[in-house]
Amino acid sequence: MTRPRIFVPWDAGALALGASAVERALIAEERKRGVAIEIIRTGSRGLLWLEPMIEVETAAGRIAYGPVHGEDIAGLFEPLLEGGRHPLRLGRPEDLAFLRRQTRFTFARCGVIDRQSLADYRRHGGLKGLERALSLGPPAIIEEVTRSGLRGRGGAGFPTGIKWKSTADARAAQKYVVCNADEGDSGTYADRMLMEGDPFCLIEGIVIAGIAVGATKGFIYIRSEYPHAIWTMTRAIETARTEGLLGERVAGSAHVFDLEIRVGAGAYVCGEETSLLDSLEGKRGQVRAKPPLPVHKGAFGQPTVVNNVISLASVPAILAEGAEVYRDLGHGRSRGTIPIQLAGNVKYRGLFEAAFGLSLGEIVDDIGGGTASGRPVRAVQVGGPLGAYFPRALFDTAFDYEAFAARNGLIGHGGVVVFDDTVDMAKQARFAMEFCAIESCGKCTPCRIGSTRGVEVVDRIIRGERRAENLTLLQDLCETMRFGSLCALGGFVPFPVISALTYFPEDFGCAPLGAAAE
């Protein structure tokens, strides 16, 4: 008889909620009962409020249980083996509304496959994109990526195909692909989940990028806060080398490509591509003035493609399924899907991959189910620490690059952080400035000095000192930072500050919106 196959997530989120205790309890129970089981470590399906969520393979497909804790296993073990009844039984994961409503394109395998097995990756459609890429050749790969409409998921939304074309056109003996896995934006974890749950997908995407632009070497720059992702990617790269996916003859072709990991050291600004490149070269991570662009003069002075994890990990499926499938999804000029990351005080917390175009209200109220605390939603910060705070009045905003920009916001890397009515928006504005002061690379004065001044000014406003004067000062300061900063750290930090002030004036001691002026 084959052993029952039990799937346990080894995703940092699931581990933070007790997945390793579950695995230990499963092994103890197995010994105690003398029933052999097979434990397969997967990533997370992304339903974090149900983690640790474990699954068993049955004739009727996989059956999930969650949230499971170590102490549940004694009672759960027997029904689990058959997918039988238990209060924690969730049924087939694909039938859960949160998953059923998604378009899992980039995250199709995450939480499903054995993340360490290249064979399992292949069984679930992996390497089809690379096969097609090899048959197409570089110009046609770039053409396909361009036609898909894929835009960079790191935040700036720059068309990936165009970036690849510039690098392909640059002449140099050595070119590089650099994968930006710095994922510094608070409220985001899609890169982490993908690296921990489907590492070969990222490797495949990077290899395709290398072939397309003529690079033979790649780096993945992973933030140090992600030890599990670093571990999983390191093992996956070793496997890819032994199995011939990386090395002298990539997947049996004439292409050469190798990949190394570099670990960040706790600097938010190193997610900015030029700062990342300096850090990769072993320097302080200061932002470089552009031009030259990285596509012309990037890592070690050579032409370099810098792309976010999700941008690169979307490429294998785009090539496997065809550009049209991707391009036909989406909204306006934002094509394809985006992993929306519901975070903070929200009931159904997790990763929701969907075509662009859902409204913010649908995302927060409908998919997210409102707050975890059960209190009313008051503010939602979209796009990380440099993203604007949205009040309920703007919940009709469509999730796409242009729609958010039109409302002085950004979708960034797709993080959506929900706050209930206990939030103090003056404090949030102060934090935005404080964060900028802590993380500024120090190159330009408006950012370096302005952010520290910003904290002081907000403090004075909170204390009620010469409020009108200080409010004007804050506006001026934001204006200076907005237009006098070299990069988006200093340049965009006014978004959270000004949005907090505009939509939640009562928290700054001013008259509420809609009320008569003081």
Partner: protein
Amino acid sequence: MPTGSPWSVERGEEIICTHKHLAGAALPILHALQREFGFIHREAIPLVARALNLSRAEVYGIVSFYHDFREIPPGRHVLRLCRAEACQSMGADALAERVRERLQVNWHETSADGRVTLEPVFCLGLCACAPAAMLDGRVIGGLDQTRLLALLDEARR
């Protein structure tokens, strides 16, 4: 990890030697040194400088630029509490207050008994299980006061 072995020039040189062939070796070397010794010892700076053909000032500039690198030894355990927005929305600020009270420390400081160093971190990618923390290498999500204080007691035992 956090305690680290006592500083030794020979061991330091050895570590530098195993990593210096890497492209952009400074960060890999500094990470490896910190993994071994728990911090970047003052005496390591000229060694790194020599190996990478940099000035001491340049190496010091790198060490001081990155939040990860410590210039003084940490306590037996390092507690990194997330201070970023998703964790704030679930009460991280109040938790941090309690921890600082209990340990009688400020951010970046070590408790008087030398057991716990408290460090801020801006997002651990555990924003859907906020508030989140990392105790040494271990990730912890969905923290509340009771769990956090129990964790501290465990670390201080």
